[in-house]
Amino acid sequence: MATASLPGSTPAPVRALRSLLSKYGLIAVLLIMPVAFGIHDLRTEGDLSRLGNNMLDGLSNGSIWALVAIGYTLVYGIVELINFAHGDVFMIGSFVSVGFFGTVGLTVTTGAFGLVIGLLLTLVIAMVASGMLNVMIERVAYRPLRDAPRLAPLITAVGFSFILQNVGLLWRGGSPQGIANLIDSQQVFFSVAGVFVTHGDALAVLVTVPLVLAMTTFISRSRLGKAMRATAQDPDAARLMGINVDTTISATFLIGGMLAGAAGLIYALYQTTIWYFQGFTAGLIAFTAAVMGGIGNIRGAVLGGLIIGVIQQISDNRIGSQWTPAIVFAYLVLIMVFKPSGLLGEETREAG
């Protein structure tokens, strides 16, 4: 078995096939669904507008996953922990946003100016609340276990995930709740070549893009961002260089939580239903996105989130939503087979 991978011991056609697969396999995997359904559309309807709409909805949904996935990937990059509570922090972000609408009295009849101000305020509140929650979780559940066996914090993360779900359950009950459709999210904003851009899509892009840009700039330019990168590379060396590792880790959790909070607000406005279990699904999807893009890599997380959004939308629309999770995970396995370190994977300490 081991000798099979040595060059020279495999026949030439097999080797040619293998190099062909490793070069183009990934691209083929990624394109198979859009291309197949594109051809199908061209045959039956004569244009690509249905596929285009799928892709657009997928991208705006995916941008929510991207925001959550960044939190996963940042935390993983710095403490190598799969933060299972992250999805539930996102859920709490949604709940806080919706609670805040009620408090400040935002309704469907609020004027455009009031709505923008109110939503901006909600965004800030949701981000701060989720960020602080994430920092608190790190302080209580992960920091005491920093030198414990590597998998111990995984269990406290699961524990906190259960606790937060229970908080959500007590807060808003056990079934999905409809909320006021503040931005009229299904209303068409404008359309290009039969592709309809709705208010929800516009909101998702308008919030996500600046946040991701701000965050990447912060990490690549600021002092704290530099400290974060240093700690991710080697915590001990970073500590020797005078970096306060604990503060840096807290800051990472803060940023991750803030992005999850923002995603929570967009999700609530976009889907107009919230429930305590949304975080579980979102967490699983975002974790998948983070791994798909190459865990620890921010651009990878965004890419992974967008790809998963598109796959989900196409599968929901064409194959049936009951199969969507299976298809997303099948895609993940295929991508992992062709690119074991994720799409844009860097070598992390663990993987290196």
Binding site: A148, F160, I163, L169, L332, A351
Partner: protein, 393 residues
């Protein structure tokens, strides 16, 4: 104060004298064998105890994959599902058209022998389940061979979810004149265990079920101990500690990893087949991601890689979930005169207990000796006996 101090500063378990420690495992096993005579033969307690033992078997299986070989598996539920469906296929009315409605019966007696559908003796079903899950385990292992670290976790998670999804939506898939699964309705009833020379088991007297589960636990324990101290077990541990070093010392990575997946999966299948029969249903809703996490929590909480720790962890968690929270804690507010419903808080309490137990004992309830040595950096804890004692002797 650094985190290292916190870990080291923890009170370690009281050290028992050597003869007592030697006598503890046989005494525990004897107590487990005799336990049913002291409790009612039906009812809640023995029911929970039997389920706890079935979970111990699963935990011991997962311990081989995660604890010994260090391959983080978040999709163990897949093996539970495959084992349970093997029981469902070969011991229920599911294939009602089989043999023209006459049914196929292999070594079954009593009531099941009269029914249509495929009915195969439990022992054969267990063997089939073990074969099916071993193959499934190796297949799931294949794509993870090139992966490192937590990438393995997500791929196994993906397989667990795919299997779960197929179980839920299996009623849409048909072939050979039958559905793949019964989806959320579940396959029910499932044949009771039917062992040679014994009357078929009933749901009224749970003692025989308990002893069957206990036998499976003993088999799993035996296999775990023998494997850990074997050439293969040492290869797994070497792999866990440092893959590159292990490979360069001549450990065949592919074979070693696949054997870990296959062996671990086999126990999941064995226990799954038993639970299918014991719970009398094979329902797609059982096979959720949270079950994988539940089994993983058992082994991490018990002490990753430590066989007795895993047993204790599995029993503790399954009693917390099946007994402490629903039967004991929920009655507390009523008893102290509060009008307050705790059932709404049950998984919050479970989460809280997980956090508390993990923070108090980060190494697990009974840490693996080798791991304890790493954490305490050698000297102070080792004391009177060498860590490699079990292997050197």
């Amino acid at each position: 104060m650094t985190a290292a101090d916190t870990v080291r500063g923890l009170p370690s378990a009281p050290k028992l004298p050597q003869p007592v420690r030697r006598a503890l495992p046989p005494a525990a096993i004897l107590a487990a064998i005799l336990l049913p005579f002291f409790v009612a033969s039906g009812g809640g307690f023995i029911d929970d105890a039997t389920i706890a033992l079935a979970y111990v078997v699963m935990a011991l299986g997962l311990n081989i994959i995660v604890g010994f070989a260090g391959l983080l598996d978040l999709g163990f539920v897949a093996f539970f599902a495959i084992g349970a469906y093997t029981m469902g296929y070969f011991g229920s009315l599911f294939h009602i058209e089989a043999n023209g409605g006459e049914g196929i019966h292999i070594l079954v007696t009593g009531f099941a022998a009269e029914l249509p559908g495929i009915h195969v003796n439990f022992l054969i079903v267990v063997v089939l389940a073990i074969i099916a899950t071993t193959i499934a385990g190796m297949l799931i292992g294949l794509p993870t061979l090139r992966l490192r670290g937590d990438y393995i976790a997500i791929v196994t998670l993906a397989f667990g979810e795919i299997v779960g999804r197929i179980a839920i939506n299996g009623d849409e898939i048909t072939g050979f004149g039958t559905k793949l699964t019964n989806g959320r309705q579940g396959i029910t009833p499932v044949d009771k265990i039917d062992l040679p020379f014994l009357a078929p088991f009933t749901s009224l007297n749970l003692r025989p079920w308990y002893w069957v589960a206990l036998t499976m636990v003993l088999i799993a324990l035996f296999v775990n101990f023998r494997l850990r101290d074997s050439r293969l077990g040492r290869a797994w541990i070497a792999l866990r500690e440092d893959e590159v070093a292990a490979a360069s010392m001549g450990v065949p990575l592919v074979k070693t990893k696949l054997l870990a997946y296959g062996t671990g999966a086999a126990f999941g299948g064995m226990s799954g087949a038993f639970l299918g029969s014991f719970l009398n249903t094979v329902n797609a809703d059982q096979f959720q991601f949270s079950f994988s996490i539940f089994v993983l929590a058992m082994i991490i909480l018990g002490g990753l890689g430590s066989i007795w720790g895993v047993v204790v962890g599995a029993i503790a968690l399954s009693f917390i979930v099946n007994r402490l929270i629903p039967d004991v804690l929920n009655g507390v507010p009523g008893k102290i005169g509060l009008d307050f419903d705790l059932t709404e808080l049950s998984f919050g309490i479970f989460g809280f207990l997980l956090v508390i137990m993990m923070v108090l004992r980060p190494e697990g309830l009974i840490p693996e000796r080798r791991r304890k040595m790493e954490l305490h950096e050698g000297i102070e804890e080792l004391g009177e006996e060498p860590a490699y004692e079990a292997r050197v002797r």
